[in-house]
Amino acid sequence: MNKTARKYESAALADEGYWTSVSQAIRQEAVRLLEQGAVAGVVGYIAGRRTGTAMPVVAATPDQAKELIFSPACVNNLALYLTKAKKEVRAKGKLAIVAKGCDLRALAGLLGESQLKREDVYIIGIACAGVYGAHADRSQPLCDATIARKCRECTVREPTDTDLVAGTLPALPALEPLEAQELARLEAMTPQERWAFWKEHFSRCIRCLACRQICPFCFCEQCLCDRNRPQSVETTPRPAGNTAWHIVRAMHLAGRCGGCAECERVCPMDIPLNLLNRKMAKELKELYDYEAGLTPQEKGPLTEYKEDDDESFIK
């Protein structure tokens, strides 16, 4: 939390050569796939209009594929576009996707939840140095000061089980695990302090639902939180309904979330949503030894059970 007291390094974490070589590898493969007709489109990134930005695209022709890039601005989790809910994208046919490690975890989750089949997707994995955080000064290179919080403690930089890996990972320095520190700080608080912490955050939520829209796992066609008659969660952006929304969101993602932290990145109110996701992931690891990984798992921790699961909390 102590953002002001800390001094951030501004030395680039990876040199220009790394980014261009990854971009080139993606382009080459995408062009090849499209020319051969192996896929109908490549879900990847192209440069945005402003410098230091990028945006998702479905490249459908070799010419479009030549525009594909990878840069620290490629923040989006593209797995989002492969759920059944994205009918327009899926209707195109077999797709290739550019995926960072954290996107791959989401993809593995979607495969496990039968949202798509492995043979329906060609995966171009990225040996990933990291991406910009939500408020990074994008005139700077990717560095200690601009890198996303999730990337500071990433364990999936080198993808596995992909059809291709683009680029080679540069040597990266160890960065301070800010998010883990924040989590530990919260866990050490008294329940009252934690309540106050979350109350303050949840009260600011404006219920734009950007966090839901960006989440690869929020693919329900009708969200429980939108329903009335009977209404489960109040839909107006008042503290009570917000708290319910956030608890339900965290609960529905527990055991599924891959930790891409897109929800936190898109939140206009800077609510630290990934802390909730991480906390749940941590608890489920402790309780049921489950961890979201790069390979699809047929069952999540909350869709299976063991007869001798812990029930010390039940009388």
């Binding site: 329940p191 956030h246 609960m251 527990a254 909730l276 309780l287 909350l302 869709t303 039940i314 009388k315």
Partner: protein
């Protein structure tokens, strides 16, 4: 038969979410056996603990419950085979989440009560009611319910105070 009535300053509202096959039948047995237990409990019946979505627990707290009891068939006795096994994992995770958000877990009790355990039902209800009575009203969720442009702390008119009490 009647035990002496004690007058308390605070009567907690307890919501019990129960499975119809075991705990509800157990509560029924307690009733037909004329066992006494605190009338603070409001029972909501579900087909199975597997149907008890964690959001119901949350909703109960938000709408004024001071304590929540969730109860169903013992493991292995679920009438839908595995409903309570799934529920058990869900509740375990949900407890952790509530704890992380700062909710006092001593207001939330889970139990297995079979159709034959009228006595255990009485025990569960009495225990939770008395524990919550000691803790006092659950104010966090009520304050949240009121928090908006104006805050619950500045209740000035009698009408507003009355509305607050009625929640």
């Amino acid at each position: 038969m009647h035990t002496d009535k004690v007058k308390h300053d605070f009567e907690p509202k307890i919501v019990a979410l129960v499975c119809t096959w075991c705990t509800y039948a157990g509560a029924d047995l307690a009733g037909t056996s004329r066992m006494q237990y605190p009338p603070n409990v409001r029972v909501v019946k579900f087909p199975c603990t597997g149907r008890i979505d964690p959001v119901f627990i949350l909703r109960a707290f938000q709408k004024g419950a001071d304590g929540v009891l969730v109860s169903g068939c013992h493991p292995g006795d679920c009438h839908y085979m595995a409903g309570n096994f799934h529920a058990r994992r869900r509740f375990a995770a949900f407890r952790k989440l509530l704890e992380f958000v700062g909710v006092d877990l001593s207001r939330l009790q889970f139990s297995w009560v079979s159709a034959a355990e009228g006595g255990k039902w009485v025990e569960m209800v009495t225990e939770l009611t008395e524990r919550v009575r000691q803790l006092g009203p659950l104010t966090e969720f009520r304050e949240l319910e009121l928090a908006e442009q104006w805050s619950g702390a500045t209740l000035t008119t009698p009408e507003l105070k009355e509305a607050y009490q009625a929640i």
